[in-house]
Symmetry: C3
Subunit: 472 residues, 3 copies
């Protein structure tokens, strides 16, 4: 097999129509080198605290990327053959090079997907590779990447700086003591790595470890978290601690977007049932719904911007979950309703100018029907970008084309990379900037916007809006 | 701040691809100057009856346009600062010029939205403005527009004629005595302003003023409207009166598209509960559903074309509703189902060639799944155009691309402007004509239609189909 | 009326942008003449068994095509006037030429629809017509087509060979004795016509003839099909027979995609109620759901690939159904849910590499939200192509644009024509190949894929993937 050349075309993702391409290129020139603002994601703060080298190509690029191994799995590649850790912590005795080869042999599966765009960007731009990944080039890739990772320039902090990241937020449970964030702060390194408050483990009573999490929540805070008022105080305390460690936001991953506004006595009684483990699915849902409204109340007080990431059926694959545990590419979007679901919360806080709630969805049918009309009216609502299964070029186009007329550009918050694949962060922001420039170029080419206006919007989307929305 | 030039490009909204643009231009040339047929909208008949001058820029363009002030409100502009009337009829003591300045300062929020297209069209084409609206040009705008409004050429009837409106329909409640329509008719003015029968106030028992409306309905008609048969007779009487004042259609704004076909005894019993105020939400829904089928029966008799505009959660913002009342930009679309919902009505009237029902939606996911397949089969069904939140260029493209294959062009009814923003009517029809020409140009460019066929379709969509569908 | 010329442009369906068009043409050149693999459809095996000439233009092109007569019906053309058979087997005494004229006079209704593309392809490519169909050319069409059909070159087998069909699957009920398939096999003709197992008549207890079908199922198999175990054995027996006649797949047309995995005792008890006719709608649904899982279990054993075509409200038009019976263009798509619905089946078989389930939908909102994420994870799942109301160019674009990022190309199965309109099969495959080439050309033009990769994908989609997915 002859190696095929690989390069990143400077016009990638721009329309091929020369008028639109020309405009897109000019707009992109104004945003291409702006610093990266990454207000929501899942990188591991230990990387920046310890600044240890990444192990090898497989550990860095394959094992942590569920976008990648879910596609391989869908075409019959065993997770053990890729060295994916099992639920019990064990791993198949697989040579990382062999795992990489299995990946390389199946790389054609990613044709046209965002993963291939992100990975090719990393291969070319971070590692200087210039041939396409396939069975024939697998070893060359593995060796090149693994060797580079041993050099100082490829340590996490060096990459952070090379990537021109102005600020990055990680996401932690209230049970996290934020030692890595403290270590980063104490190290004197100037990279800005902040946390975000994601209380799901102490909010979702259907999570298998909820009772343990709740107990630990009490230990950490010294509050009686088995009592409703103590539970709320514990949240306030941890939120304050997170804020002191740089957090500017909270994040909530719920099966639906349901909110509730129960009278205190009813909330207290519901919590008592939750704590006793004496609840059904509807009560669990109502409890999560009530907590969202409580979180909004706290956000109004402490200024943390609230995010809701609803609508995912977690761990849909029963057999895979038993063997490999959570986060193994088996999460599937659900139809999601916002208009009725958010009303209790919005009835209380929707008109508060100081409260900000950023909404996400995995259900694109809600963009034009529910989310854009809501965000185009309520002062407290903003729309997060195309998320997860939808953060491909096509999904980003749909996001803009389906939210623009009712929400405009200015009720959106720019891009989130939302990733644990650290090396892909510049690639992901680059894709988002290119698509936004392409969207704007079409508007300019069709005389709906002047180019100077489009240039201002491009910079707003790439840089100003995320800083403003997330109070960074 | 230097004023930026503002103009309307002759190629706006056409694809930038030269082949498609060329075709679109040729098609558009055949429809650009056709008279405006506006079969459904919300202009105030008093304007045409009294022909009084509009007060100023703010009263004309800002205060009545909920598309505009909802966007401003979403970004923190207080409705009082814009002079929006409150529920109690009072208004903040705001200088209209100051309100206009607040609008101008936030005009960038509308970038890419249909409001900016419509407003710019009005600014250039109606008022001859040639600089972009922003903080720097706010006063120039305010003065130019307000001065023009004092001149005869800017009176409602003069604008009506200048806009080349062949016919316009307003929308009135059965309780309306249609005095303005009578005055127009008696004035000798030749402008054709007709009404449409919108019985929601006497059909929706959940409306806060339903009992009063029902009582007034009885007074006006002399029927015992608290009895089911009398209630139906009252509708027939008012429909006949509306028809005598030019109405060719009825319109129904319901939360869902539910229809019912109850046996008469059951309908009578249900109405008795409704009248007593002794009903739950399901009964209110069933009542509205039953009335739709009764309206269809009457349409078959009196020839009024029926329209259903379903699927809106009205007055979603509790606090805003308490302070400012209805129609303040807080209506939000809901997921809407048609296939089961319409079956009772269609089982009775779906195959009647003389009955016509025009369906609208705020839920675009129903275009290809439900509405186009229904309209592409039932002789009585037609599809209304992209509506409300979706009447932007993107929404119009989606409407065509998602209904074309199952419903074709000929089960659609051309454009509705559906607006109370009188000055924007030519702009809105122009946008619709341009988009339809662009859609057709793509089909021609991809050799799916010959250009002579496309030209015929373009004229049908702009002029012939609305006249035929609405029996104008 | 002057006849308008009709021709098939060689660039039809390709983007007009010259860069994309150039790429699309090169890709298409590699797939244009590949043999047709038609793994799922509804042609009549009697045609190939008997090889009798088709009667006339009306019988061949109009009467069997519900896409065509539903559109005519929607615009007021009576089905009797087209000679459509009634439920009682009678037909209006309509001259086929007069029916054809009625069709021709309304041919403009199909502008922009896939029917017009398919029909024009047939007119030009199969019958050599070179003027547009309209009232003026109706007789010329009728005579040309009807005369051609009397010649040997237009017999079914000759057309099959001319169309370069490598294999075609028909669809039969378990009650079918497959005599036509046996006759084809015994005839020595080399055309590969296989069957597929569609057990709906003995699976849907709400079908009006279910009790009869069940009784006949027992007679054919000699099993006690009124007992659950005997019923399952009867399926296994008929599946084996179908496989022996070439079947490689089963197909299931259910109102929803619900699956169930009941304990055997519960399944047995449910079946007893079904057999007694003592069931409600929920039990009928549960029974169908349970049968799907049983079918999956059998597929794992006998290797037949499973297909589910869910989500259609059959015979929506009550009056039309009473008069004309099933399959008269009155089937309407329903909102369809997959994530919860498929879980019972997937919990048992989703990770079995030897089990293959091909999913279809009439609800496009599930493409990006449910179907692509499911197929991009489960090894047993594949996505069928855009189906029925959605197999137009626009629908095919949406299918690719909404499934690509999560499922890639390789979790899809290429094209199904799914038609009983035999003559349109080359046209339908041609449209699908052109659209896939256009989709790929856009990716290449925007530098997301190299052209050599796109060429490989194009051939995979047109030829290799259907053969692999359907085990042909």
């Amino acid at each position: 097999m002859n190696a095929k050349p690989l390069h990143l075309d400077e016009n990638r993702l721009f329309p091929s129509d020369p008028v639109q391409r020309g405009i897109a290129r000019r707009l992109y020139a104004q945003v291409a080198r702006l610093p990266i603002v990454s207000p929501h994601g899942h990188t591991d703060p230990a990387w920046f605290a310890e600044d240890a080298p990444f192990a090898d190509a497989t550990e860095l690029l394959l094992v942590p990327d569920h976008y990648v191994f879910r596609m391989l799995y869908s075409q019959g590649v065993d997770l053990d053959a890729l060295g994916i850790p099992r639920a019990d912590g064990s791993r198949a005795a697989v040579d990382p090079r062999a795992a990489w080869r299995a990946f390389a042999e199946h790389y054609h599966l990613f044709r046209g997907t965002p993963s291939s765009m992100w990975l090719n960007h990393v291969f070319v731009d971070v590692f200087g590779l210039d041939v396409r990944l396939d069975a024939g080039s697998a070893d060359r890739y593995y060796d090149t990447i693994t060797a580079a990772l041993q050099t100082p320039a490829f340590r996490p902090r060096a990459l952070f700086e090379r990537f021109n990241i102005e600020v990055i937020a990680t996401t932690e449970s209230p049970l996290d003591e934020l030692r890595h964030h403290a270590a980063i702060r104490d190290s004197g390194w100037k990279g800005r790595v902040i946390t975000a408050y994601r209380p799901d483990p102490v909010v979702d009573p259907e999570h298998e470890r909820f009772p343990d999490a709740l107990r630990r929540f009490g230990e950490l805070t010294g509050e009686d978290v088995h009592d409703w008022d103590g539970y709320l105080r514990a949240h306030r305390q941890r939120r304050a601690f997170f804020a002191s460690m740089g957090a500017t936001s909270t994040d909530h991953g719920h099966p639906s977007c349901a909110t509730a506004d129960l009278p205190p006595a009813q909330a207290r009684a519901l919590f008592a049932k939750i704590v006793r483990g004496d609840f059904d699915a509807a009560e669990a849902e109502l409890f999560r719904a009530q907590v969202l409204t409580e979180m909004a109340a706290m956000s109004l007080d402490d200024g943390l911007v609230m995010q809701i990431h609803p609508g995912c059926f977690r761990n849909h694959n029963r057999g895979l979950f038993a063997r490999y545990g959570r986060d193994k590419g088996a999460d599937i979007p659900l139809r999601t309703e916002y208009v009725q679901a958010l009303k209790p919360l919005l009835d209380r806080f929707g008109n508060e100018p100081a409260f900000k709630l950023i909404l996400f969805t995995l259900d694109e049918s809600t963009y034009s029907r529910e989310l854009a009309p809501l965000a185009g009216h309520y002062p407290s609502l903003l729309l997060g970008p195309a998320w997860w299964f939808h953060d491909a070029p096509e999904g980003m186009w749909r996001f803009r084309e389906q939210t623009l007329s009712s929400a405009g550009f200015y009720n959106t918050v720019g891009f989130n990379d939302d990733t644990r694949a650290f090396l892909s962060i510049p690639a992901r922001h680059d894709v988002a900037r290119r698509i936004d420039c392409a969207v704007l170029a079409k508007l300019v080419a069709e005389h709906r916007l002047d180019e100077d206006e489009a240039a201002e919007v491009a910079v707003d989307l790439a840089y100003r809006l995320p800083k403003r929305a997330y109070r960074l």
